[in-house]
Amino acid sequence: MRRIVSTAVLFATTFGVAFAGLRAGERNISAAAQQKPDATEVKIDNFSFGPAELKVSVGTTVTWTNRDDIPHTAVSTDKTFKSKVLDTDEKFSFTFSKPGTYEYFCSIHPKMTGKVVVQ
């Protein structure tokens, strides 16, 4: 009998913790949406940067990945950052230490443009 009770308590406790954990997790996700960057990755697909506009907080590292069969670059118009030529699946990362709006483009295919807003 005693054994049964303790099992029940254990069950209730485990369930309760798990449930609380889930709720805590939910809160964390919504907090992240408000305070942390939406994304730190830009994917290059079909001759375009996605997302074309990215909002991040100061100190965020943004990584560009080229998923096209053609090489691309990510070069800011004010020369703050300049990737090497990225062949298929190659990546380039840059950490934004100052707030501002950084417009960039592919120096090989200049019709491809994007923007990183650092707050």
Partner: protein
């Protein structure tokens, strides 16, 4: 150019069966072996079989050369895993031309990633070509990472600025232009002030009867600006050529044949020897187009250009590698 004069140009003045419809038909043939000829401002087109019959009429004074483009050495994706093989096939095709080519033009994107070994491989394959003189202009893929330093060392010994130059062959004046450097965000190909000034000076002393051939990588006409297929300041370059009776503009970059006639200027783009790209706006992006393996050679090709003295005409013939 007004719509009226365009109509006049394409109208069937000579009752030779070439009207606007005929012109479009000629365009449709491009890539499958068409023969288009400008004569006295009227475009004429002939099938390959008619050309064979005309063969005997082509006499001395003829200048024949070949344009190849976009060999993209180093490219190894699904659209063509064997760009070495297709470039070799293109050179076989050049060597088999019934009228031997005196020289070749390569309109850029020799390499895919500007790697020394890519240029080396192309150089080695082109040594097998019958025409020994090859005149280059760079594509954007040839000037990656170093603003063209390596390209100029290899191919630009006797050129000006970023690699532009001119030369004469049998009375035809050739102008090689560079429009792939210093590209601006959101923009198209660019020639730039220095090159335009040089060009104005280069053609100033020429007689208006001199046939002109301009070659550059990115089209010098607005093919499809949404994909960057055009050159910002090409109108200025063409303005310097207004006085000339015959101007032929040869480009690459778009990996498909296309032709347009405007006044005395014939614009033409060559096929790639490496992989095809989609027709303007017919795909989400201008990336390499994958076709069934057995069809690949039918969408790659070379361009053969013939000039006949006294006829005031340059004939542009596209042949696929199939």
């Amino acid at each position: 150019m007004t719509a009226k004069s365009k109509d006049e140009l394409l109208h069937d003045h000579n009752h030779d069966g070439v009207d606007r419809r005929g012109f479009l038909k000629c365009m449709a043939w491009a890539g499958t072996g068409a023969f288009c000829i400008m004569q006295g401002g009227v475009l004429k087109s002939y099938s390959m079989s008619q050309m064979a019959q005309m063969g005997g009429k082509v006499g001395k004074g003829e200048l024949s050369f070949v344009q190849i483009s976009d060999s993209h050495m180093g490219f190894n994706k699904a659209a063509n895993p064997d760009v070495v093989g297709t470039l070799k096939t293109a050179i076989d095709k050049v060597n088999a031309l019934s009228t031997p080519a005196e020289f070749m033009l390569h309109t850029g994107d020799i390499s895919h990633l500007s790697k020394p070994e890519e240029f080396d491989t192309v150089d080695q394959i082109l040594k097998g070509a019958t025409p020994k003189d090859i005149f280059y202009v760079p594509g954007e893929h040839d000037m990656l990472n170093d603003d063209g330093k390596q390209y100029l060392e290899r191919y630009g010994k006797n050129t000006k600025g970023a690699g532009w130059y001119s030369f004469d062959k049998k009375g035809v004046h050739f102008i090689g232009l560079v429009n792939v450097l210093n590209l601006k965000a959101g923009g198209l190909g660019t020639l730039g002030h220095d090159q335009l000034e040089w060009m104005e000076d280069d053609v100033k002393h020429l007689k208006s009867s001199t046939p002109i051939v301009v070659f550059a990588h990115i089209p010098l006409w607005s093919v499809y600006p949404e994909w960057g297929w055009g050159t910002e300041d090409s109108a200025q370059a063409l303005a310097y050529l207004k006085k000339f009776g015959s101007v032929t503009v040869l480009n690459g970059h778009i990996h498909q044949t296309m032709q347009k006639v405007e006044g005395n200027v014939t614009f033409h783009t060559a096929a790639s020897t490496a992989f095809p790209q989609p027709e303007p706006g017919k795909a989400p992006s201008p990336g390499p187009m994958k076709v069934p393996a057995e069809q690949l050679k039918s969408v790659l090709g070379i361009t053969d250009v013939n000039y006949v003295h006294g006829q005031h005409a340059l004939a542009v013939v596209d042949s696929s590698l199939a």
